[in-house]
């Protein structure tokens, strides 16, 4: 994307005459006061150019628009050509509902954005199953680890991992997915070279991993949070980054819940890895439930505030996610359900389909994780053995380790550092846990 954006002059460099419809769509989305719902209403029975002209001439009679009357004046001040040029320069694609290039899975949604801005190629959304991995920004190491693993395993299994590119769980899931996608691409490249040399031998490289797709609240060309600028770029290169916000809008707070509805609308399954009892993840869950999208949650310690929300979701009947195969079964059920619904001519059926059916439907199963190799704790020398026993799988404070072992602090710290060097425990910020 960025390489094409930097090409000095796109074919329509001088004098866009006439401006394409996309330019008017982008301009309409840029008018302050026009939100997703107004935009949809404006474009319901007009072309973008028609809507724009109606807007600037003041001939629109929209109930929703009356509250946003000042927007009329704002709109007259906007320069459609400048907006269009800015989008072209930034390499941002403008996709309109009901036209080619708009993700078909999203088009069916009743709250689908009328205009979608994109980096990269969102067509992958229509080719593969999609799973959203969402969660809190203030995640624990456990949550980050699970999110990255799920992201990698699902991507490797050919599932598009959707997330919001936020800090915490979102970022970890995308990191995992990007890594898996890159590994698979390299493998294929090697395999293709090998097969071409072996004159037409069948490639034994595994199924191709699916690229991740990010759905963000602000403009796709302005990475937020800035720490994720690198990840943002890699996601856009591998798959796509989508948003309904044009260039140059502020990251307003209301855009985040609106973004979450797009994630829910795009997903076959939503997985919450860690979340607190309140927060954006629960918006996504709500939006998913409203659309009949199954929601899964990763269980966590009942003492961890970061798992309070997910544990509550499990208590409410969401399915349990222990690893990628749990998710893939749910995806299989969902896809099978959709197929069945299609056959039943639009009659909605929420009846779950048997697992066997899902597996038969060809949903790839991620390899079950290998059994944890038993650590020979008994073989460890004396203080180290007691210390490793005192450090739980749950995070344990150094105070607790000292309390449980009753040993002196220097002995305990020495043992912990030796265990860390061997990769048996992990310590950060005064907390220790088994790897």
């Amino acid at each position: 994307m960025s390489s094409s954006a930097r090409k000095p002059s796109p074919p329509v460099a001088t004098g866009f005459d006439p401006l394409p419809e996309e330019a008017y769509a982008a301009a309409l989305a840029s008018v302050p006061g026009i939100g997703p719902r107004t935009l949809r209403a404006l474009l319901a029975d007009r072309t973008p150019r028609g809507a724009w002209e109606a807007l600037v001439t003041g001939s629109v009679r929209l109930a929703v628009f009356r509250q946003a009357a000042p927007a009329l004046g704002q709109a007259r001040r906007l320069d459609v050509e400048a907006i269009w040029r800015a989008h072209l320069d930034a390499g941002v694609g403008v996709r309109m509902l009901g036209r080619p290039g708009y993700p078909a899975v999203l088009a069916a949604d009743p709250e689908a954005p009328a205009v979608l801005f994109s980096l990269g190629d969102p067509r992958v959304l229509d080719r593969a199953a999609r799973v959203a991995i969402v969660g809190t920004r203030s995640a624990t190491r456990y949550g980050l680890g699970v999110a990255a693993q799920l992201g990698a395993d699902l991507a490797a299994a050919g599932v598009v991992v959707l997330s919001g590119l936020a800090l915490g769980i979102d970022g970890a899931a995308h990191e995992g997915a990007v890594a898996a996608w890159r590994a698979s691409s390299e493998e294929r490249a090697v395999a293709t070279n090998a097969s071409s040399q072996a004159s037409g031998a069948v490639s034994h490289a595994g199924r191709r991993a699916a690229p991740p797709v990010g759905v963000v609240a602000g403009s796709v060309a302005v990475p937020y949070p800035r720490q994720h600028a690198g990840l943002w770029r890699r996601v856009a290169q591998a798959g796509a980054v989508l948003s309904e916000a044009p260039l140059g809008v502020a990251d307003l707070a209301w855009r985040f819940p609106m973004r979450n509805r797009i994630i829910a609308a795009l997903s076959d399954v939503v997985v919450v890895v860690e979340c607190h009892t309140r927060g954006g993840s629960l918006h996504t869950v709500q939006a998913a439930t409203a659309r009949g999208v199954p929601v899964g949650a990763v269980p966590g310690s009942v003492r961890s505030p970061a798992s309070a929300g997910t544990n509550a979701l499990l208590a409410d009947g969401c399915f349990v996610v222990r690893d990628a195969s749990d998710v893939l079964v749910a995806v299989g059920l969902r896809l099978a359900g959709v197929a069945q619904r299609g056959m039943a001519a639009g009659v909605p059926s929420e009846e779950p389909v048997g697992v066997a059916q899902a597996v038969a439907a060809g949903v790839p199963q991620a390899g079950a994780p290998a059994e944890e190799p038993a650590i020979g704790d008994d073989a460890l020398p004396s203080p180290t053995r007691e210390v490793v026993a005192a450090v739980g799988w749950d995070r344990t404070s150094l105070d607790e380790v000292l309390e449980r072992t009753g040993l002196e602090m220097d002995a305990v710290c020495g043992a912990l550092e030796r265990l860390r060097a061997r990769g048996i425990v992990h310590g950060e910020g005064g907390w220790w846990e088994r790897e």
């Binding site: 203030s138 404070s397 105070d399 602090m409 710290c413 550092e417 910020g429 005064g430």
Partner: protein, 538 residues
């Protein structure tokens, strides 16, 4: 007739000798003070007049000029009342000039002729030229600490004049100033440096009295339930003089620990005690009965403190700030994240140099600032950021909060300790922690070992001396290497960890020359794990 009386005035915490010259002549009755007097000195005219009249002397109906020499030095405070009054008496012929030969006078006069306390007496006593010194009775202990055997305390102007006239005898001049409840001045550190005894040796009768007082003032470490890491951090900070930052949620006992740290510090050596007394006296803090401040001071300014109140200054008076009042003791900044950034950054230079240079257009002064900095802060605005996954703050709010401690300031903390709230069962268990007295014994011993290295404590060890003084065992070296490689420790942090590890080894009773072991380095690393809590946000 003219008279000249020796005295001194105070700039910052330094005394400067002053000669009070009084001249009287025929002319329109009047009383003028020249020689850069401040308001308090100018007002002494009225105090001196009332005091003379109350003491049954007459006030001259003549023209009197008082000159304070040298004229270039600004004169502050009411300590010049007494020499001015005596000068007037000599000039009027009520006292023979010879009676004042070889004596200096310092004292504020009450309207009834009584002599009152003068701030900064100890510095004035050091500054005056003549051999003998007369001070108000209440300042005798303080002044005789620096002029033993040659300082006299008198209660009133009248009594003093009687003595000077030879009608009554000079009072006894105290020989030496003693610490309270002891039979000798507490040279505990000096005594131990020569001969490093076992910790039990410190716990003799004298030390017990000392510790009982410390515990009474600052509380016993045994009161802190649970918090083994926090208690250990306080011990290491006291032993090695390592600046300590406690990072924990509200209610995790940060203030409690900081106060108990002061109780762990050994009594001040004589030069240290004099330094502290000079500052406290100049700032006008109430003097202890001993006259000399033997206790390491504990100062905890509120986070509303201005830069000047912390660093020192003022227009002409040049008052020492909180950091100087905490010299040789503990400066505790609670809620460090709430202090203005400029105020915190002003601490950096004094932390590095142990002295603060305060310059104003009218005057400048150097104040000592060799304090142990103990900071306490929440990990984030909501306070719960120390526990992974519990923080409710937005990442930007968290980063903003942590950024108030600039990197260079954060680097000054050898110990950055994450604290958690004590579990209720530990709070109620009633199992007391180790008491102050046994921890203090280890602290004294560790400080004595450091003293043998030629420094006050291990935090003052030069980086160049670390290879010889804090040699690392091979496993300890490997651990440091691993930590740096993994990015858990910066290059700058390595030396700090080595100093702390040296202190921990000294506390463990290791031979002062022995190598620092892996356990000691591991513990030193654990005692700065709080940086990871702050880095998450930064």
């Amino acid at each position: 007739m003219t008279a000249a009386v020796h005295s001194a005035t105070l700039t910052g915490t330094t005394g400067r000798p002053v000669v009070v010259e009084v001249h009287d002549s025929e002319g329109l009755p009047g009383f003028t003070i020249v020689g850069l007097p401040d308001t308090a000195v100018r007002e002494s005219r009225d105090r001196v007049r009332a005091a003379l009249l109350s003491s049954a002397f007459s006030w001259p109906q003549r023209r009197v000029t008082v000159n304070l020499a040298p004229t270039a030095v600004r004169k502050a405070g009411a300590g010049l009342d007494l020499p001015i009054a005596l000068g007037v008496l000599v000039a009027l012929g009520d006292l023979p000039a010879a009676a004042l030969e070889g004596i200096a006078f310092v004292g504020e006069l009450g309207l009834d002729g009584s002599l009152r306390h003068v701030p900064g007496t100890i510095a004035l006593a050091e500054a005056v030229r003549p051999a003998r010194l007369v001070v108000p009775q209440c300042d005798l202990a303080e002044a005789s600490a620096v002029r033993p055997g040659r300082t006299f305390g008198v209660p009133t102007l009248h009594a003093l004049v009687e003595i000077l006239r030879g009608s009554s005898a000079w009072p006894r001049a105290p020989r030496e100033c003693r610490a309270p409840g002891t039979t000798r001045a507490p040279h505990v550190r000096g005594h131990l440096v020569a001969d490093v005894p076992a910790p039990e040796a410190f716990v003799d009768a004298q030390a017990e009295a000392w510790l009982a007082r410390a515990v009474e003032r600052y509380g016993d470490l045994a009161d802190v339930k649970g918090q083994r890491v926090g208690r250990r951090a306080v011990e290491v900070a006291a032993a090695g003089g390592h600046h300590l930052l406690l990072v924990g949620p509200p209610g995790s006992g940060k203030t409690m620990l900081a106060r108990r740290l002061v109780g762990l510090l050994p009594p001040l050596s004589r030069p240290q005690a004099l330094e502290v007394t000079r500052v406290h006296s100049a700032a006008g803090l109430p003097a202890p009965d001993t006259g000399i401040v033997w206790d390491p001071p504990f100062r905890s300014p509120h986070h509303g403190a201005s830069a000047v109140s912390l660093i020192g200054g003022g227009t002409a008076a040049m008052r020492p700030g909180e950091i100087s009042l905490a010299t040789q003791g503990v400066l505790f900044l609670d809620e460090m994240g709430e202090f203005p950034v400029a105020v915190l950054d002003a601490l950096r230079q004094p932390l590095e140099e142990g002295v603060v240079h305060v310059s104003r257009a009218k005057a400048s002064a150097d104040f000592p600032a060799r304090f142990l900095l103990v900071g306490a802060m929440n990990p984030c605005p909501c306070g719960e950021g120390g526990v992974p996954g519990s923080c409710r703050c937005s990442p930007s709010a968290r980063a903003r909060y942590v950024r108030r401690l600039s990197g260079p300031l954060l680097d000054r903390f050898d110990l950055v300790v994450p604290l958690r709230r004590t579990a209720p069962d530990e709070l109620l268990s009633g199992v007391p922690g180790e008491p102050t007295c046994s921890v203090a014994a280890r602290v004294v011993r560790a400080r004595a070992i450091a003293g043998a290295r030629g420094v006050r404590c291990n935090s003052e060890l030069r980086a160049s001396s670390l290879p010889s003084v804090a040699a690392l065992s091979p496993r300890a070296t490997a651990l440091l290497e691993r930590s740096v490689r993994a990015g858990r420790l910066s290059g700058r942090g390595v030396d700090r960890v080595r100093r702390v590890a040296r202190t921990i080894a000294d506390l463990a009773g290791a031979d002062g020359d022995g190598a620092v072991q892996e356990e000691h380095v591991a513990e030193a690393l654990a005692l700065r794990a709080g940086r990871e809590v702050l880095d998450v946000a930064g």
